[in-house]
């Protein structure tokens, strides 16, 4: 019994001195990406050749191919389609970037991910 009371007092003192277990909301906002997290896929339009591989692979079907203007590939000028990301569907899995043979999709961590708001808008 005595040991238990001792422990209780110790625990109480320790808890008083310790940092809180949960993060304050300010800190969470700063901590959206850690070193290990995957980031946000963004297109480097010049590198893309419009092969659609990323759109076909994306698990959440977040990529649609849209007209991307003319591009000269292998000496010929053709109309290409480039990916457009629907960030409210994206699960930030990084697969598109890893699958793209041209390295045309860059994963960036300098922007906040899109958060779906209650009213269906996103930010």
């Amino acid at each position: 019994m005595r040991r238990r009371y001792g422990n209780m007092v110790l625990e109480a003192i320790r808890s008083l001195l310790r940092k809180p277990e949960t993060l304050p909301s300010k800190e969470i906002e700063r901590k959206i990406f850690t070193e290990e997290s995957r980031g946000i896929p963004t297109l480097i339009a010049d590198k893309c050749i419009g092969c659609s591989l990323c759109a076909m692979t994306c698990p959440s079907q977040a990529i649609t191919m849209i007209p991307g203007g003319k591009r000269s590939i292998g000496g010929r000028v053709i109309e290409i389609k480039i990916p457009s990301f629907d960030y409210s569907k994206c699960i930030y899995c990084e697969l598109c970037a890893q699958i793209c043979k041209q390295n045309a999709i860059e994963i960036r961590k300098d922007q906040d991910p899109i958060i779906i708001m209650k009213n269906g808008e996103s930010r």
Partner: protein, 555 residues
């Protein structure tokens, strides 16, 4: 001990597959049950104009027997086996809902388990191959528009209880004592529970149907979302089945890393559950202590995979990123710290008399009831049956790791808690061995598998924190998508046991007894995607048409 590979069930020359006709089916089942008492699940496949039912049994030592029976597509019906094995009734209801097979002599003849009550009775069952996603979407859309949500008055078998002395209490789907939506019709005599009949499906998302419309690689990300706690085990089991189907062997290091993440997942899941036990018995401090200790493991998972919940760590043929030696060292250090903390907390709480008195002897059941209900995982092991897939059908790095299968001596809430505490320590030891023995090499495949399937079928089983998880995959040559993906999550059979164990206890014990199995109703429901944000009540099982493009590729 036999390691089940089971690539192509039918080409397997041993006796693990028995093809029977509907007439000789009852005999075959009767002959099988004495030596194979554990019914894993009933898998239905709509193929070649018929419905194939695969009854998968296990002898509780890792040997499987699959009894396959073919039924015509129209008016398919077969004898129910629930009089031999109680637990089968829930699988039969699942097949009845999703494939329209009629089970003769079923104890709950008309009620639904998964499909919404508003699903028209004359509409085709959703998992038939002849039903397209668009059609299904239309059916559900119309059904939802026509009536107010009839799900609020679910039909269970409770109409059988019209005796005056009994009160039928509707429990759930939304109830303060439940964290997830499920419904129980509880027959009460005074304060005592006489019977409890489950009705699930409130979070049914149609994952199995969606899986038939996505490529093998995409499905991997889909199944990861079946459960938020065992997410890695789902993706691992699926990957294992695909690897068996296609004959891909991942590297040794990949297998070790998979095992590492799986065991971390077990630790965090068990810690979470033990915390919840405190929560449901009114001991909130215990809940907070354990959940704060669990945070350490979550941070490790984030460090390894980049994500805390849906880890996206595994891929077909390997893993998606390597874990450096420094990180392995950090894991060792943190896990030691966790062990110290966890031991301190569990020593304290598991010797705290008010808690012990509250949970001892509650929800008690014996080994026989557990087996007949088809229970799995810690629930079955607490009753003394050493049924652990890691041991009886080793996968990943488990063949090279020595560990004990933890069992208890009686089934009740306390004994299950004890099993989970000891299993957590065992997992810590497994992690130490994994890190010590991990081979070098590159676990990341050079290119990601983006191909299609081939003719054949494969079964994979793993042991997530809640118990045996079962995946069945059927492939077809030339098809980019799996022909059929069947998932049997551990909560489904454990739910049968929980309904059994509720009998004889009082209303106030319900939260504790339900928590005992560590229920995950989302994972047993899986499968409707909600789209159409402007009208939140439109349900579409979707592939949505591309929405208007919001311009450019920047944020």
């Amino acid at each position: 001990m036999k390691v089940m590979g089971a690539v192509d069930l039918r080409r397997d020359k041993d006796s693990s597959v028995v093809l029977v006709s509907p007439d000789s089916f009852p005999e075959a089942i009767k002959a099988t049950i004495p030596s194979y008492p554990h019914l894993i699940t009933i898998t239905a496949v709509h193929i070649d104009g018929g419905i194939e039912l695969i009854y998968s049994f296990d002898n509780l030592r890792g040997e499987m027997r699959n009894i396959i029976v073919r039924l015509p597509e129209k008016e398919a019906s077969i004898q129910s086996i629930s009089s031999y094995l109680k637990g089968s009734y829930i699988y039969e209801m699942e097949v009845r809902d999703l494939f329209g097979v009629n089970f003769l002599g079923h104890p709950i003849p008309s009620a639904r388990l998964l499909l919404p009550d508003s699903y028209p009775t004359n509409a085709p069952p959703p998992l038939l191959k002849t039903v397209s996603l668009e059609q299904l979407s239309r059916i559900l859309d119309e059904a939802q528009r026509q009536e107010p949500p009839t799900m609020l008055t679910p039909v269970t078998g409770s109409s059988r209880y019209s005796v005056e002395s009994l009160v039928i209490l509707p429990f759930g789907p939304y109830h303060p004592a439940l964290k997830e939506p499920e419904h129980f019709a509880i027959a009460l005599e005074g304060e005592r529970i006489v019977e409890a009949m489950p009705r699930i499906g409130y979070v049914h998302r149609g994952i199995e149907k969606l899986a038939e419309n996505r490529t093998y690689l995409q499905v991997l990300f889909l199944v990861e979302r079946v459960c938020g706690i065992c997410s890695f085990h789902h993706s691992w089991t699926y990957t294992m089945a695909v690897e068996k189907l296609l004959g891909i062997t991942p590297s040794k290091r990949a297998e070790y890393l998979r095992t590492l993440v799986a065991e971390l997942e077990r630790i965090h899941s068990h810690t979470l559950w033990i915390g919840l036990l405190g929560y449901w018995s009114g001991f909130d401090t215990m809940f907070m202590w354990l959940w704060s200790a669990r945070e350490r493991i979550m941070k490790l998972l984030e460090m390894i995979a980049g994500n805390r919940v849906n880890k996206s760590f595994i891929t077909i043929g390997g893993v998606r990123r390597d874990v450096s030696d420094e990180k392995l060292k950090i894991i060792l250090r943190e896990i030691a710290e966790f062990e110290r903390e966890f031991r301190k907390i569990t020593d304290e709480v598991m010797s705290y008399d008010p808690l012990i008195e509250r949970v001892r002897g509650i929800g008690s059941y014996n080994a026989e009831t557990a087996i007949l209900s088809g229970a799995v995982g810690p629930v079955l092991r607490a009753a003394g049956i050493p049924y652990d897939i890691r041991k009886i059908e080793p996968y990943g790095a488990y063949p090279e790791i020595s560990f004990n299968v933890i069992t208890g001596s009686r089934g009740d809430v306390l004994s299950i808690a004890d099993v989970r505490v000891r299993e957590t320590f065992e997992s810590i030891e497994i992690i130490r061995q994994v890190i010590e023995k991990i081979p070098s090499g590159n676990p990341v495949p050079p290119t990601f598998f983006t191909g299609g399937g081939r003719d054949g079928e494969a079964i994979a089983r793993t042991e997530p924190p809640r118990g045996e998880l079962y995946y069945y995959i059927r492939g077809r040559t030339g098809m980019k998508t799996p022909y059929r993906v069947k998932i049997r999550t551990p909560t489904l059979p454990n739910l049968v046991l929980a309904s059994e164990a509720l009998k004889g206890y009082t209303l106030s014990d319900i939260p504790l007894i339900l928590t005992m199995i560590d229920p995950c109703f989302s994972c047993e429901d899986r499968a409707i995607v909600y789209v159409g944000r402007r009208d939140p009540f439109i349900v579409k099982l979707h592939r949505t048409p591309p929405r208007e493009i919001s311009g450019g590729c920047t944020l």
